[in-house]
Amino acid sequence: MAKLSLSGVSKAYGATLALRRGDLDIEAGEVHVLLGSNGSGKSTLCKIVAGSVRPDKGEVLIDGRPVTISGPQAARALGIGIFYQELSLSEHRSVAENICLADLPGKSGIFVDRAALEARASRYIALFAGVAGEGFSAEALVGNLRADQRQLVEIMKALSSEAPVIIFDEPTSALDRAQVDRFFEILRQLKTEGRGIIFISHRMDEITAIGDRATVIRDGETIRTLKLSETDPAEMIRLMVGENSDLPSAEHELPAAGPSAGAPLLSVRNLSGKGFRDVSFDVLPGEILGFGGLHGQGQSAVLRALFGASSISGGSLELSGRSLAVANPRSAIRSGLAYVSGDRGRDGVIQGRPIVENAAPIHYLKERLLLARPSALRDKVLPALGALHTKFASLAHPIGSLSGGNQQKIVIARWLIERPEVLLLDDPTKGIDLAAKADLFNLIRQLAAEGMAILLYSSEDAELLGNANRILVFNGGAVTRELTGADRTRYNLYQAAYEAA
């Protein structure tokens, strides 16, 4: 009998079906790997098990009994422990307190029993003795720890739940080799105790090293569960990617004719910074260079760093053959760079202000304007909005009166009044409608055809495969593969994304 079993589970957010039909069986004493691409429904499935999302339909069984997981607390009570991928630690508390946070040992019902707390925490800290690194102790404040040490605290926190089923969602992303090896030893020990482990990782070597079985999820559906001893990475990737995965992207949508050979417009050499390291590439004028790979592997970090929005710790940049230093977005804009974020609410839209003011800031900066004359602005803004087929009633209306797609068009239009040389697109179509996406990519191709160099990160593989002349696959903050020509296939994209970093 399965320890945990989900069958026919579905979840919709508004009109979007995040999970169509999720099936999953976790046996006692196994490490069960969940495999799926960005947006496949893998994390929704995890959230349902963890109790942070309630399924619309379907059945959840624990030890054969149907249960309703009404929230994270209920999940805990039902014997499900979770390692959170997004760090959920209290910065200002000690390692010991963080480990025991969910269930602080009490004294007379009011006070925290410090001795019991230390004793319990030290059990889990001891598990990683020797690999946790300098400064790691029960009393250390989490805020002072390195990224890998924080991740260890997260792991210890999940272990301290002593739950029969534990979900580990990318628990090894920041760990070094020795720490991963020790973690796997612990997992093997948990297996012998008869616990069920759900394991998510994007490193194929780890998956094959620790996994017993794997369930593949694609487009919100459970495709197949297979034994890892009876399969190979190629088959798993093929299952994740689906039909026609070997066809080059040119088959479905031909990217604009490649750029003419020539001197690169932007050269990046050995660039390092927070979230990425040793990234090098050239972009030619007229080229659309895609950034691929799983979420958060450094693609956005590189784009933001190029735009001066986060700091660069090493490496060099050249724009049109001249050395380029970007201190902040302002200097990047002056040098001819443009950046469009998918998170328009945070990075783009000036809420409550008229459309015209939202479209004009780059014009103000580049022309060093002091006065904002409405008629002059209108003449500048209207053609830029027209190029994107933007729908609006009046330039004086607040930007909030528009749909998400049209808001994003306004934000993009601000870069079209004075054209940049290099356009950085950081998942620009996130959360906008299909028509707006089509308008956007038509424009991007046109801009490239006119000689602009474009860096495109997209979390939707189809957008990359359909538009990029070349794709750099990011894994763990570094470029691990470059896909050109007929190599630009979904299969190759996934294989590179799942390779060991």
Binding site: N328, R353, E357, P361, A372, A393
Partner: protein, 330 residues
């Protein structure tokens, strides 16, 4: 692009009802109502002479509130609690520089602007470079200014307004209105132009509405933030000089009465304390409204505790009305 034409029945009705919910309109309506109410309570309250006096007092407050308005529009909990201290200091500096002689007016104006700008600069640098919250920074600055006032004056009133300055504030200058009213109108026009027609104005709204997006669009956010505090300091300094002209000589902590009212006037005028929303025209009406309210409460001789309650209740009432207006528009 597609221009969507607004058509449909009830559009005019909706437009009128939306117009009636605008803070400026609400404030103006309340002003008229209060004037009638004041006149009923104490005949002569709404006489020409009396209204003129109210307007002069409102202009003093309104000039302080102009700077306060700019700081609040800039967002990130922007607020300037030090304005009262700057008003007092400016009155003293101005009084001592001119010392009762018209020839000293121009140097006094320059000195006061420099003093106001300097303390505004300190506020701005504290908020941007040291990342001290504006509330704390300007409250601290107020303390510094109050201490400075004691040191400078040593308890003895000093300095005198030049006759030219006094008549500018109190005597008719053009069409029967004193110069300070015209100055206020001029400030109102300039503020409106700055906020709507200059890049600087648009950037104030941008940093107030979404500082990060403004930064990503190349707005020099820190420079802007320092600027709004400098502007606030300079407006407070101008108000301090005018106050000197109004009262003839500077007395202890003359400006202290402006700290909260300058904020209330801004809020009365429909500017959001969260930043990025509002304007100065409403604030002008807010200043007049506040001054009339104060005057009525003085007229009916209400106890101070009662006065505080009426202020508080009015503020809440207006917030309620404005909030509804916003909800309608959203």
């Amino acid at each position: 692009m597609t221009m969507v034409n607004e058509t449909g029945a009830g559009k005019t009705g909706a437009a009128i009802s939306e117009f009636l919910k605008r803070p400026l309109v609400i404030a103006l309506v309340l002003i008229v109502v209060l004037l009638f109410a004041g006149n009923a309570l104490s005949p002569g309250f709404a006489s020409g002479q009396q209204i003129l006096r109210l307007l002069i007092v409102a202009a003093l407050l309104g000039i302080v509130a102009a700077g306060q308005n700019v700081v609040i529009l800039g967002g990130r909990e922007g607020i300037d609690l030090s304005v009262g201290g700057v008003v007092s200091l400016s009155a003293i500096v101005g009084g001592n520089v001119m010392n009762g002689a018209d020839i000293g007016i121009v140097p006094a104006v320059l000195a006061c602007l420099a003093v106001g700008g300097f303390f505004g600069l300190l506020n701005g640098l504290g908020v941007t470079l040291l990342r001290i919250p504006p509330l704390v920074m300007t409250l601290g600055m107020l303390g510094v200014l109050q201490g400075l006032l004691i040191v400078v004056r040593q308890g003895i009133p000093s300095g005198q307004a030049a006759p030219g300055l006094s008549s500018f504030v109190t005597q008719p200058f053009l069409f029967g209105l004193p110069g300070i009213i015209w100055l206020w109108v001029l400030i109102g026009v300039l503020m409106a132009l700055m906020l709507t027609r200059t890049v600087f104005g648009h950037r104030i709204y941008a940093i107030g509405s979404n500082e990060h997006a403004a930064y990503m669009a190349g707005v020099p956010v820190k420079l802007m933030r320092v600027s709004v505090f400098v502007i606030s300091g300079m407006f407070a300094a101008v108000a301090g000089l005018c106050l000197l002209g109004y009262s003839g000589s500077s007395f202890a902590n003359v400006g202290e009465q402006y700290m909260l009212p300058s904020i209330i006037a801004v809020v009365f005028g429909g500017t959001s304390l969260a930043g990025g929303k509002g304007g100065y025209t409403g604030t002008m009406a807010g200043a007049v409204l506040l001054v009339i309210l104060q005057s009525i409460l003085t007229t009916v001789n209400i106890a101070d505790s009662g006065r505080q309650m009426v202020f508080g209740a009015t503020l809440l009432l207006l917030m309620l009305l404005y909030g509804r207006g916003r909800a309608m528009r959203a």
